[in-house]
């Protein structure tokens, strides 16, 4: 599904090098967790996957289902099935959440040459998926992310993910800003989307998210490189000993 080979990248504006040779392969059906201390390049990796133009890839490649992802525009990547759940979802004043969902879904369908969804079909779909995530009708009528609490923002991200049915889901610190109940609801929403056809990359600081979303593989990222790969027990080990060992090793 996703193949990252020797990826080097820097901030376009000041040429600060962030990623220094990342190799990562994620197969369909797998959930990979990427952990690492602040400033290790986790969020940068997620932005580069989504195509944010603040970053420059200087070396290496990214293949998404065999296609060169770096040649694709952000909206083309989205239509091809790449979804990024943002750490800090963006506010869009005046645009009802419902309206945004519909516009996004139909834009992707159109890009794939599919018919736009009829309003009744769309409503039915949203209602059932919103209920799973405890997203109320009232919230769907409010402008996207404007005045949403931390938990509402993250639930809205996962609702979008559920609706758009992407092939590759990248979750950037989805656990930040969540209380225990919200963490459970969000994690259940994510787990429901696990499927043999779908791959997930879960980026987090903390092991606690991985109690809920249990990964197949755990990677440790430090100073722009993956320094250790293991199974879910690696996360527990990190929780106990901290990142210090790995950071020093790198």
């Amino acid at each position: 599904m996703l193949e990252i080979k020797n990826l080097h990248a820097r901030i376009a504006e000041d040429e600060t090098e962030i990623l220094r040779g990342i190799d990562l392969t994620v197969k369909a059906g797998e959930v990979h967790a990427i952990m690492g201390p602040n400033g290790s390049g986790k969020s940068t990796l997620s932005y580069i996957l989504a195509g944010k133009d603040d970053y420059e890839v200087t070396e290496g490649e990214i293949l998404f289902n065999g296609e060169n992802m770096l040649d694709m525009e952000p909206d083309e990547r989205a239509a091809a099935g790449m979804f990024l759940a943002f750490q800090y979802p963006i506010e869009i004043p005046g645009v009802a959440t419902m309206e945004f969902l519909k516009t996004a879904l139909n834009a992707q369908r159109k890009a794939r040459g599919e018919e736009a969804l009829s309003i009744p079909d769309f409503m039915k779909m949203v209602k059932s998926k919103a209920a799973d995530l405890n997203v109320t009708m009232d919230m769907l009528k409010r402008p996207l992310n404007v005045g949403f609490s931390g938990g509402e923002k993250k639930r809205s991200e996962i609702l979008q993910m559920a609706l758009l049915e992407p092939k590759l889901c990248v979750l950037d610190e989805t656990d930040s800003g969540l209380d225990i109940d919200a963490l459970r609801i969000v994690s259940e929403g994510v787990n429901k989307l696990r499927s043999p056809e779908r791959a997930m990359v879960v980026i987090t600081h903390y092991q606690r998210l991985l109690d809920h979303i249990v990964p197949d593989v755990v990677h440790v990222l430090s100073k722009g490189k993956i320094v250790k790969t293991g199974d879910k027990d690696l996360a527990l080990e990190l929780e106990k000993n901290g990142y210090a060992d790995f950071v020093n090793a790198a």
């Binding site: 133009d53 990024l84 005046g94 645009v95």
Partner: protein
Amino acid sequence: MPAVQETIDQVKAIDVDQYKYGFVTDIESEKGAKGLSEETVRFLSAKKNEPEWMTEWRLDALRRFKQMAEPDWARVSYPKIDFDALYYWASPKSVEGPKSLDEVDPELLATYEKLGIPLAEQEILAGVEPKNRVAVDAVFDSVSVVTTFKEELKKAGVIFCSISEALREYPDLVKKYLGSVVPVTDNYYATLNSAVFSDGSFVYIPEGVRCPMELSTYFRINEQNTGQFERTLIIADKGSYVSYLEGCTAPQRDENQLHAAVVELVALDDAEIKYSTVQNWFPGDKEGKGGIYNFVTKRGDCRGKNSKISWTQVETGSAITWKYPSCILRGDNSRGEFYSIAVSNGFQQIDSGTKMIHLGKNTSSRIISKGISAGKSSNTYRGLVSAHRKASQARNFTQCDSLLIGQDCGAHTVPYIESKNASAQFEHEATTSKISDDQMFYCLQRGLSEEEAVALIVNGFVKDVIQQLPMEFAVEAQKLISISLEGSVG
């Protein structure tokens, strides 16, 4: 949201220069009255068979105009206008004043069809009323070519006709109200208009009547080197209600064309007038060449108690816009509203806003202005809210929001607030924002294209005002705004 999608489709169907009303109608036209002189005024007045007092009124305005200086306080710049190089009269040859639909030149009908203006009066079939019927007064260059649904409106007692016809048929009404809201010497352009106005619409809603359909005037400038000076007068008698829409377009020409209109509204006791404008004059090309100079004086007088006047405007066209639709809140408990979306792109310059003059007791007003600037344009909100000594308990709420797209445009807000009464309560809120890269990236990540993302964000920004427009106008306006901003994100 279908409007967004339609917008995109429409944008894509348009050529490099996005203005889609830029075609010229090939029609034999009579042009006269070149240069600003007494002869011109007499010629115009004679053309229209006006009564003697009207001719004198015009000549008086001309004399006063000659003594006035062009105002320079607005944040717009343009070369001096040579009023003697302009034609003050242009009329399609076939038109001899408004007549019935089947007599109108097919070339003209085709023009309006191309512009999307329905001139045909839909028949009432088997007692089923067609939805959204709108009566239209179509003004082409200097003359009104047709007014639809006149007969049906007459049954309700509503007078809707061109101002030229009104001068002949209802001289007393015109004489009583013309210039009573915007005096002849109100300002430079209003005085010019008073001297040489050609045509426009006249509406009278009798006491207690709720106008049975939307009224609208559609202005089209076709001829070269011709100024359009229309004059609109709307009177809502006691307890009546009318909703009026105005639309404007012009062909794409290299030289600038002048449009200096005056609109006067009078609302008597308990009457309400809702006036909506979608202004889409040719804005000039990508290099800033050509386009309409739009100098307009619009004012409503809430003359009676409990009366209400509401202005809603969507301004996307013109090279220069100089326009301040205002309300004089004379009657006690009267209310004025101003909702505006002003979009500037390319080299457009907009200096627009409103005046709310509180004279009566318990008067209230509300101003919501949304300015969107893109390209190398300049967009200024200029507004005055004032309470006079006797205006006890006057209230105003003003909200001015500006949205900037790109690096080279400017937005300015110039509010004037004066209160001579201690019990007045005025509130002013203003914000300036940009479409952020983060918003764009977020939308793109969800699969929207750049155009779709801008359309969505801008439609969200102007939502409060769009909601004030009549339904079918709202969708049009949304499309128009997005088209005007096409190419602004790069």
